[in-house]
């Protein structure tokens, strides 16, 4: 056996903490990391695309998103929900992008953009019902927690398979163009997804046909235990745009104003017929992949702490402080209100029956059940009637 090649280790040493503000390489210069909020909280007014009111509103959304994630992890630890996967540390990326789109734009999520569904009007208690998979679950208990869909907000159905949503977003945006609608689709995916076939297929189709789609990559550094450096040999994700003949940009994903401004530019390009944008948002997955993961097994505490210091909520708070829009006591008040909102939502959700009715097991397999589903429902009902243990784990 040949000696172990440690090229990737060298890259990891360099790469685990990408320098905010841009690195040394050719592609990092070609796709500079765009920021708006400086370390002291100041920002060039010309670069700011949010009104004061909008900025405060999105700050509150970030606080709510954080509160939801923290509370749901607690509920999982208490055994009240089975699983949770959140976006702690990635709030600016999720909310900056969704806020940069228009109401009519469709959203094709990965599985961390719950704040996007909530932002588009999914009631928080409905979201919690999905986590519980109970009788109030809009998905009829069909999907595991965190795989919501919210059609009223044009937030499509979340899948666990990776990158499948990317070509789908391209198709929806294509359909809108065929219909003559002003609709630009937004799709989110992680940097891990850029290894998957569907990412490449989607980018290629979108490039060839100049489809109005914003492809937002949440580059959070980790795909479960695999660091970005073992995912791609590219210096940046944004540069992948070059090969598909599409526009690429790289922004500081922890800078809400930078993400928002970049999304506006990308949407504008799409709507103007200039085609798709690959928007790399450089951020960090501060927690484990999900509640099923323990990241201490594969990464250092120092790395995580360095990123905690770059928390997107602290960053936005500094900006709002610099603008004298929000003081520390306001943040405390917002947090308390978010906590209360989440508490009420959990209460409301937990009031539903823990299980949807048994016929929902067969609902929606086909538009109308076939004889197989009808017979099997009858068979299941009879089996439960004969022995209630039929419906229980051993």
């Amino acid at each position: 056996m040949r000696r172990v090649r440690d090229i990737e280790e060298a890259r990891m040493r360099k790469g685990n903490l990408p320098a905010v503000g841009g690195g040394e390489g050719r592609w990092e210069r070609e796709f500079p990391l765009r920021t708006v909020i400086a370390d002291d909280g100041s920002a060039d007014p010309a670069a700011v695309t949010l009104s004061d009111e909008e900025a405060v509103g999105l700050y509150r959304w970030m606080l709510l998103s954080r509160e939801v994630d923290e509370r749901m992890v607690q509920l999982q630890r208490q055994g009240r929900i089975a699983f949770y996967i959140g976006a702690i540390g990635e709030e600016a990326t999720v909310l900056g992008t969704v806020a940069g789109m228009r109401q009519q734009d469709w959203l094709f999520p990965s599985y961390r953009e719950h704040a996007g569904a909530l932002f588009r009007g999914m009631p928080l208690s409905t979201f919690v019902c999905d986590l519980l998979g109970n009788a109030g679950d809009r998905m009829l208990g069909h999907q595991m927690p965190c795989h919501e869909a919210w059609a009223a907000g044009r937030f499509v159905s979340i899948s666990a398979p990776i990158a499948t949503q990317v070509p789908q977003a391209v198709g929806a945006a294509w359909a809108a163009r065929i219909r003559g609608d002003d609709m630009v689709a937004l799709t989110w995916f992680g940097e891990g997804a850029t290894s998957a076939n569907d990412f490449h297929t989607g980018a290629n189709f979108a490039g060839v046909h100049k489809i109005p789609v914003v492809m937002a990559c949440r580059n959070n550094g980790w795909a479960i235990s695999v660091p970005r450096e073992l995912q791609t040999a590219s210096e940046t994700i944004a540069q992948k745009a070059v090969a598909y003949g599409i526009h690429g940009e790289r922004v500081d994903g922890n800078d809400l104003l930078a993400v928002h401004a970049a999304t506006l530019r990308a949407r504008e390009r799409g709507a103007a017929g200039l085609g798709p944008t690959l928007l790399e948002c450089v951020t960090y997955r501060v927690e484990g992949h999900s509640t099923s993961d323990d990241p201490r097994a594969y990464r250092s505490a120092e790395e995580v702490e360095a990123w905690r210091a770059r928390d997107p909520i602290l960053r936005m708070g500094r900006y709002l402080g610099w603008k004298r829009l929000v003081a520390a006591k306001d943040t405390e008040k917002f947090r308390a209100e978010a906590k209360d909102q989440v508490r009420r939502a959990v209460e409301e959700a937990e009031a539903f029956d823990p299980k949807p009715p048994v016929e929902t097991l067969f609902a929606g397999v086909y538009a109308e059940p076939l004889w197989q589903q009808r017979e099997q429902l009858a068979e299941l009902r009879a089996a439960i009637a004969a022995d209630p243990r039929t419906a229980s784990p051993r």
Binding site: M1, V4, S195, A223, L230, F362, A383, T390
Partner: protein, 321 residues
Amino acid sequence: MNIIQAVNDALRLEMRRDPSVVVLGEDVGKFGGVFRASQGLQEEFGKERVIDTPLAESGVIGTALGMALYGLKPVPEIQFADFIFPAMDQILSEVAKYRYRSGGQYACPMVIRTPYGGGIRGGHYHSQSPEAHFIHTAGLKVVVPANPHDAKGLLTAAIRDPDPVLFFEPKRMYRAAKGEVPEGEVVVPIGKARVTREGTQVTVIAWGAMWHEADQAVKEGAALGIDAELLDLRSLQPLDIDAIEESVRKTGRAVVVHEAPRTCGFGAEIAALIQERCFLHLEAPVTRVTGFDTPFPYTLENEYLPRAPRILRAIREVVAF
């Protein structure tokens, strides 16, 4: 020892024995796999033999195929059987057909390990039981252990096998099924079923996690005076047709259990084989107890899965026919 430890043990021993064995997949290296099946292997064998790949199942299997052509013995892991579908083109169009289409000039033996099955509150992308797709594709072997001993012995045999093997591991039983497993080499030949309980009235056929449900049902049946024989198939392709025939000729009745949906599930093939070969011995229709014809559900997964009560109900109906 539990099933995870048994898998880990088999991998370690085969990697020590044969320097051509390599493990690759998502999260299998430094982390040791999301279920920790490859824990400690990268430390022992290094990054050239225990490889963290990018996130693309088609890449995992496609590169494994190339390694196999070149003479390595790859053991790729697909993190959940539900995520095997991006690799279907590589598995069905390429891996399964390589020897055949090259007139025997090339072969690509590999063992594709993947956790399958429900009962872990995983919803439809962490619970499916897709064995039938692979059994239906000529050129692939399909193996499903139910206990730690067979997990170690069958995985060892699979790694030494000249054909590509899909190795489905019952994830619900990963830590729940415990048993004595000898240290050192254990080989359980592929293609041999095991009679885990002898009986005279009905043959119950199961594999993997469902063997445990069937075992429970057979025990409850015994308390009711039903003398059932229980077969753990262990290998679905090649199928131990002799064991099935011998048992059904004796009992005259058969109940087949699997957690995959009923339509075109492997139970359909077994039922057809039994009626073709044992027709004059049959006292009752061959019955299937299976998952339903739906995607794998989340909340109602216990309703969906063929738990022991539903199996027992079928056993009683068949015996009373």
